[in-house]
Amino acid sequence: MELSRRVFVKGVAVAMAATAAGSLVACQDQTGSGGGGSGTGTDPGPSGGGAEAAIVKTKGVCRFCGTGCGVICEVKDGKLITVYGDPDNKSNMGLSCVKGLHLGQILYGDDRFVKPMIRDDKNTKGTPGGLREATWEEALDLVSTKLQDTWRNDKSRLAFWGSGQQPITEGYALAKFWKAGLLCNNIDPNARLCMASAVVAFMNVFQTDEPMGSYTDLDLADVFVTWGANMAEAHPVLYSRLTARKVSGPGVKHYDITTLRTSTSKTADKVLMFRPGSDLAVANAISNYLIQNNLYDKDFVEAHVQFKEGAENLGHAYEDGYDASDAGKTVNDVTGIDFARFSERMSTYTLEYASQISGVPAADIEELAKLFGDPDKKIMSLWTMGVNQHTRGTWMNHCIYNIHLLSGKISKPGSGPFSLTGQPTACGTAREVGLFAHRLPADLVVNNPQHRRYAEAIWDLPNEYLDAIEAPGKHTVRIFRDLSKGDIDFLWSCANNWAVTLPRLTRYLGKNPEYKGIIDAFIVVNEPYPTLSTQYADVVFPAAMWVEREGQYGNAERRTAVFEKAVDPPGEAMWDTWIFLQVAKRVLEGTMIGSTPAFDHLFGFVWDSATDDLIADQREVNRRLFNEYRIFSNPDLNDAAQAINKDSEGKFEALLKMENKQLAPYDEYLDNAALTWPVREVDGKWLATTWRFAEGKQSEGFDEVGIEMYGDAGKPGGVSFYKSAGKKPSAVFRPYEPPAEEPDAEYPFWFCTGRLLEHWHSGSMTRRVPNLDNALPEALLYMNADDCAALGISNGDKVKVTSRHGSFDITATTDQRVAPPAGMTFAPFFAEEALINLAVHDYYCPLSKEPDYKKTCIKIEKA
């Protein structure tokens, strides 16, 4: 390690420890004095307020990864000066990672957009220039006119691309505008690129989205299994909790199942290196071993599990018409089978067969299978992009659930399958408020009449009003494939940088003469900073970022947390909710719902008629939006909704059990720390749930209220999956099927993409932090040393990477930070100057429509 780097790293290590120690001590002191309130207000902070100007503290949540660390922001003279881990937040308990330490700086890059920008000449698209300053009035009118024209002409030609970084109330207002206002389902979030496979599997297996357990399991497990997840770099604080458990718990083991060695592999006790795509075979071999050796939990399986098999030989989405093809239409089909049939299907997956497909030694698979078969071991499986960004991503999620269902290791403290998320509110917003093309808020879907009736009741819409959106809209890849072909006229995006993060950019960015749609379409981007995406925008709305407005995030453990407004946005930048509703007001002008103007009907409760503007008090806007949104999970607040929830008139097939995701009133999240849903009111107090579907006291984090309401007590394992059909989650047999591309003579290498610690996603924020930028200034292609030697490539050489879909230049390295085996390569996606997604294919999981960023085949030449 170079000296400058070493000094940097050590500085971070010390700063983090000091922060944690300080917060922990402060936390103890507070407990002693009966404190424990919000921890905000005006007092001298650790930065040394002293006799100088008072430092104002506000509560925040980290802007970056899905860990969702709570932070405290300190503001002096209107400027954010420090951010450190919030000891009251149970997700991180005062810890934060290196990115978290530099959070404050992301607001203060010197090139913020401070005025709306308009592009007059489409020929300047794809260049840094071409945008001119405009007034809000001009920009809002222009966008509204374009949206309204497209909407009136052909709704299928407009789309919104949302984000797992949009706060909950913002996402909720947007979903309501798009689905109930525009009656359009062409809205999808960037979470399609990271969580969709997890979502579809959750719904298929449990009929409820999001995990049973929580981060607390990290402090309790005996065995950790990471499936294609580099937690050390992508979820650093959670990984600290994992390693802390490893260091402190006797005999705690960690198995890393991966296609290449990462920082996470380095601390694992055993690394199981598999051939890309073959993780299904490894997982099935574990399930099969449990069955064949009678090591599965028979009582648990008997009481809680139903078995299925589904459509197979799905092929791949090579063609734009895949979804409508014979294979594409049947991908969701499943049939119930008995355990004997399930076992028979699984029986192909012997240790030897799995080893032959995957390259993992049979003895290693057996070792892990035996641990799953040990009733005394608490095992936590953790996964994220390696499993989700997979042409059989939904299936692979199923395969992991199969193991945990067979072994009964689920919904128990320290034991359970845990799907990690990539973004701060992929769960809270993208998934929970329904930003997907097929969804409504709170797990409801557009193509279910009972769900539409329920949403109509809460939004006070005429009966069957939402039947207009019965058919799901376009998913992300479809939106951008259509855009490239000229089939989308209006595209709007917020809180993402699609021109860097989408796959197959050679096609999508119009670098290929056949696909010039991006130039002709009218594109709107809400952004704080110039990015590659704003280079393609016709209008840029300057957005308030992070704590420049109040908002809420929901992290991977179902924890909803409010971040308060700490500082004002620069210049004329405005918060996204204001922007959406200003456009909604204009576009819906002249549209009626019943006898009231549509806009008033949908958003009158947050609109100030005296000023004809959004209510000025942001806290109040957030409170009102959140408290309407929470009716979805509190049906007793709305009689008509409750009647549909309970199916009082016997019109539907099932109870909705909407209380499954119960949220507390907004002010509870302000007055207390962040809470994991379902949040239950017990004796006048709102209590969180740490382990869903698990029997035990609500006050200790178990799902007491839920089980009382809908479940059965006294079942094997002390759990009752009350939200699942027949109260039984589904174990679905899913076979190994080969990836969309495999290395051949022309494209001999696998190319896997991902994240590294210092930078988050496209780097639009973290690259503006000098410390982080210096620590990792360049995206490199990590290669195996033997491969380099064979190609005559030396460390630091510029190389040209080419796939069937495009090419890019990058610097090659044999640095061991990421150490691929022969035939495998890796690069992070944060750098637009090494735009790796130009070459990455967009073939997706047929069920979740999530693209596979991990298995493009490439060739490498010295540049």
């Binding site: 010390v14 983090m16 000091a18 810890l95 990672c97 061991q816």
Partner: protein, 80 residues
């Protein structure tokens, strides 16, 4: 080089004693103290070595808990 940091909880009366022993370990530096908590870094050649030292620290008489706060092992060479 693997760099890691820790917050070590000590029995308050033993805090001084613990800190005086810790600093004699190779690669260990003491950076500060918050009541009975010590802020410590370890610089070692490998994760394995780091754990050996971290475990040794955790086992010291007077140590209640050794919390790993941050660990950077980007330089670590491949195991096996």
């Amino acid at each position: 080089m693997v760099i890691s940091s820790y917050v070590i909880d000590t029995i308050p009366e033993k805090c001084e004693e613990v800190s005086s022993i810790l600093v004699t370990y190779p690669g260990v530096e003491l950076h500060g103290q918050e009541k009975n908590r010590l802020i410590v870094t370890i610089e070692a050649d490998s994760v394995d070595e780091t754990y050996v030292i971290a475990t040794k620290m955790a086992l010291l008489d007077g140590v209640l808990n050794n919390n790993l706060i941050y660990c950077n092992f980007e330089d670590e060479t491949l195991c096996d």
